[in-house]
Amino acid sequence: MTGQGVVWLGSPSFPEAAREALKDSQLRANLKRATGTIRDKRLAVASELDDWEALREAGAAIKKRTARHLDRYLVQLEESVTAAGGTVHWAADAGEANRIVAELVRATGEREVVKIKSMATQEIGLNEHLAEQGITAYETDLAELIVQLGDDRPSHILVPAIHKNRTEIRDLFTAEMGHWGQPAPDGLGDDPAELAEAARRHLRSKFLTAKVAVSGANFACADSGTVVIVESEGNGRMCLTLPETLITVMGIEKVVPTWSDLEVFLQLLPRSSTGERMNPYTSTWTGTTDGDGPSAFHLILLDNGRTDTLADEVGRQALACIRCSACLNVCPVFERTGGHAYGSVYPGPIGAVLTPQLVGVENAASLPFASTLCGACYDACPVKIDIPEVLAHLRAKVVESKGRTPEALAMKAAATVLDSPRLLGAAQKAASVGGRALARNGRIGRMPGPLAGWSDSRDTPAPPAESFRTWWRKNRETE
């Protein structure tokens, strides 16, 4: 964990981590199958709506307006939540948020909490912090459970265990479930229904005994103070209704101005994420209600680098993200490397632009370069975040933060050559002579130095004897 508290960054740079991941052919097969399936489903349900593009525009516009007046909407949210019987806490960073949650749990006298999938709590490393305080957090989302039992890290926003296939999951259940509660039944098979049933039984006892729950939030409406969670399994519904105390940790960018704005997002989100028209479970709650649901509700508003991100006019787009994961599923880089290579809770294209901003570009310098700028993420994003634009923008910041590297000097030299037709002509002549000397049958094979990676898998044509400009001068200008 870094000082600023985005979990597990500080692992190797992207190219190194990717190299390891690429060796795992099982991982690549798992990823290809899973992302391919979701990708097709998403395209099918998005194309059902003839106003899909208008919805994307609307989503982007709402997010833009919210970002512009974020301070105002957050204060309004605090007022609404308080008026409805909840308590709002402001956390500047991971440490503060973790402290607040731990204190709230301790005040209830409990030592166990159930959790519904929350990226914000992963971002701040809440489970680890609670464990240090003697409090056990039980993940109740199936994929999160798999990750937790495997002492693993999530590798996808929506499908955290996308890197595992069902045989691997069966083995994990059999070996680990007993340590966390109800063990897996004897002779467990790897049929998805059987696995789900084993998880359901394992979790049931937790739901029925837990007095405290921790959740994330997909949205929070400033006008009504309503917090919203959408999910597929119903575990969220259990966590949000059964316990006595509910603690929600939410990034400050999750606020939307009004309840009616949900109309847009509840169409965009499920279609973009799971390829469904509607989420199976949509839970909304407004403060507390006597005799119904938790009697105490705490909302923790987490900054952790977000206001700094907001200050960057290009980079702030990343805060519009509704965590649908569509960009991950269409990303050709993610499809090959998986999420762990990104070294962050936020993998894939959105991770490559969000993580460096949350932790500072110098701490995640390889991430903005982990893309070919192919643009597939931009086309898929339901709120039209121009991820390639932000990537290029952050690359410039990385370069600036590093100063005079050999690469910077080479780029300077190249710029000088390219700004002069005469120098360019001379360089072309040199490249032609040098390249042809290296070539065999017109092709250059393996090259040393920084080009070794390139030439490991590709031949390069030898530059021709004559550049276009020379040809033109000889053949056209004398006419």
């Binding site: 050709p332 070919t372 600036e400 390219l418 360019l424 390139w454 276009f468």
Partner: protein
């Protein structure tokens, strides 16, 4: 109409035959092409790798060199995209208002080659003949950057005796991405392997595209594999006539 060819520094150095093909096609259609020798590079490599200030003089040079032409034609979707998207951005960010104006006036006159043929000249049949099985690879910059749509395929379908075949998952990135192929060589190679398998699956003899950079990457991979599929810029196919190839 005064037409200038922007060859791009990469094509100028590595693929002059593509530039000659553009000239051939445009002359066959009755146009005169000029090649201002002051031209160099659009600054894409510097911009995309994070060296934005270094790209600014190149933006200014581009505006100076091509400012007087009615149309600037380039056989590179990615460089056309660079000019269209990022020259205005760089001018705004780093330069005096004069350049901002100059760039804004010039940008609508800059066209990628297939766009120029179909949209500006209004032709799809350029009088070419190419009796081969050809696959078209939509590079990311032509597909999602410039949104060329089916313009290249329309042009190819009008070529006499050419058989157009499909590449499976044609729209997936080949893994080039400029310096990405060097900085993230392993991931790039994994993407390339899938692309090459798809190209071989298509049964094409020739693979074409609107960007020589991606073609060099794919062709380099095919050559390393010992495959016989040839890579050619689309302009070269459109320049081919009976008996020539």
């Amino acid at each position: 109409m005064r037409i200038a060819l922007f060859i791009t520094c990469f094509n100028d150095t590595m693929f002059p035959e593509t530039g000659r093909a553009v000239v051939t096609v445009l002359e066959r259609l009755g146009h005169t092409v000029e090649f201002p020798q002051e031209q160099t590079c659009c600054g894409q490599m510097h911009f995309n790798t994070g060296y934005r200030p270094d790209a600014v003089p190149l933006v200014a040079r581009f505006a100076r060199t091509f400012g007087d032409y009615d149309a600037v034609v380039t056989p590179s979707a990615s460089c056309a995209g660079m000019v269209r998207e990022n020259h205005p951005r760089l001018a705004e960010e780093y330069s005096p208002p004069a350049l901002v104006r100059q760039v804004a006036e010039l940008v609508p006159r800059v066209h990628e080659f297939t766009e120029f043929l179909t949209d500006v000249l209004g032709v799809t049949d350029v009088g070419a003949s190419f009796p081969h099985k050809v696959a078209y690879h939509p590079t990311c910059h032509s597909l999602r950057g410039l949104r060329l749509g089916d313009r290249p395929e329309r042009l190819l379908r009008a070529v006499k005796d050419l058989e157009l075949v499909d590449i499976p998952s044609a729209d997936s990135c080949c893994g080039f991405g400029g310096t990405f192929a060097v900085k993230n060589a392993d991931t790039s190679a994994a993407m390339l392997a899938d692309k090459n398998a798809a190209v071989l699956d298509s049964g094409a003899e020739v693979l074409c595209a609107a960007d020589n950079s991606c073609l060099m990457h794919i062709g380099g991979g095919l050559s390393r594999q010992g495959a016989t599929v040839r890579t050619m810029h689309l302009a070269e196919i459109l320049a081919a006539t009976e008996g020539a190839v």
